[in-house]
Amino acid sequence: MMRRLEDTLLELIESMRPRGEAAAIVRIDDVAFDLPLEVAVSPTLEILADFPRSRWRGGFDIAPSRCRISVRSVEHKS
């Protein structure tokens, strides 16, 4: 089952957030990803996008598209 595009992107971006002790001493300012994504459209017009399920492509796998995304850290003022 493929996830929605935003869920996949969130997981990807959040995986770069330092955790534990590293959070106190490391700050990531810029990240750029370039990765394959399987893309489809749900019947309710949502874009589904997920990482390829396997490195080996079979005849039943979607030919992956490619996504380049760059993010930067910003101060959040509440």
Binding site: R3, L5, C67, R68, S73
Partner: protein, 289 residues
């Protein structure tokens, strides 16, 4: 959530992509509440393997299905929009002044189902989201400020259905009546300092809860046929001072609306006297010709 390999207009794909990126950014911002540091998407470039086709003047795309190795590649790039760019292109919108609502004592009103669900299918709601309408309040406020033909084209919903839904959502609704514990205003006094006319002891303060109950939408309220003073008229509540006798008599309320119609309902005064709220289902009488 099942995948599908149907084609869809290119602009629908772009709208959906843009809307889902907005959601991703909103979620990132929410997560920053504890750390005060968040990530912002600077650029996104999608090389989409797709089949491109045209139906009349509509260009449609379909993400490549399994086995379609010779699909076209569509490059879509999103970049950060700066505030001046945004202000240059955005439509003028005057959001309604939010009205401070009074606290309601006692039983909380039941959570209402999203009214948009009553008017539009899930797919139609998704399309409305693309034009910035995600709830009934935005439908009420934004529709009059935008060209319905633009929304009709982007959302693929006939303008008359949008207007019909908006009219229904703007109509005053009363859902609950409750006795209000706030004491009524003190009685006016004559020249000798004696209370004049009916006073707090003679009045029963009632709160009618619902929505769209602002003063411009409501001409007046009658309790058991008698016009009563309107103490407060807000978006979600009307407060009236009814005669104390209203607590003993039959219990009938008529809310006269600005469009000439009225909302009428009966209630049990004995239940009201216990301090409990009563859910009501008013009958709407249309405007007199």
């Amino acid at each position: 959530m099942s995948e599908e390999y149907e084609s869809l207009p290119l602009e629908d794909f772009i709208n959906a992509l843009s809307s889902q990126l907005d959601r991703a950014q909103a979620a990132l911002t929410l997560k920053a509440a504890s750390t005060h540091l968040t990530f912002a998407v600077k650029e996104l470039n999608l090389q989409l393997r797709t089949q491109v086709e045209a139906e009349g003047s509509v260009v449609k795309i379909r993400p490549a299905a399994p086995g379609e190795r010779e699909a076209s590649i569509l490059n879509i790039a999103f970049t950060t929009v700066t505030r001046p760019m945004l202000e240059e292109h955005r439509l003028t919108m005057q959001p309604a002044e939010p009205e401070p609502e009074m606290e309601v004592e006692g039983e909380a009103p039941a959570e209402e189902e999203d009214p948009l669900k009553q008017h539009f299918s899930e797919e139609e709601r998704r399309r409305l989201e693309w034009v910035g309408i995600t709830n009934a309040d935005q439908l009420r406020r934004l529709l009059p400020q935008r060209d319905p033909r633009t929304i009709e084209r982007v959302a693929n919903i006939p303008a008359f259905r949008l207007r019909q839904a908006m009219m229904q959502e703007r109509r005053p609704v009363v859902r609950r009546i409750v006795r209000d514990d706030e004491p009524p205003a003190p009685r006016a006094r004559n020249g000798d300092g004696e209370p004049r006319g009916e006073g707090p002891a003679d009045r029963l303060r009632l709160r009618l809860e619902g929505r769209n109950l602002r003063r411009e939408a409501v001409r007046g309220v009658r309790v058991d046929g008698e016009s009563v003073p309107l103490v407060h008229a807000g978006d979600r509540a009307l407060i009236v001072d009814a005669p104390q006798a209203a607590g003993n008599s039959e219990g009938r309320v008529d809310v006269d609306l600005a469009d000439g119609g009225s909302l009428s309902f009966a209630y049990d005064p004995q239940i009201l006297a216990l301090g409990a709220g009563i859910t009501v289902h008013p009958a709407y009488s249309g405007a007199k010709p």
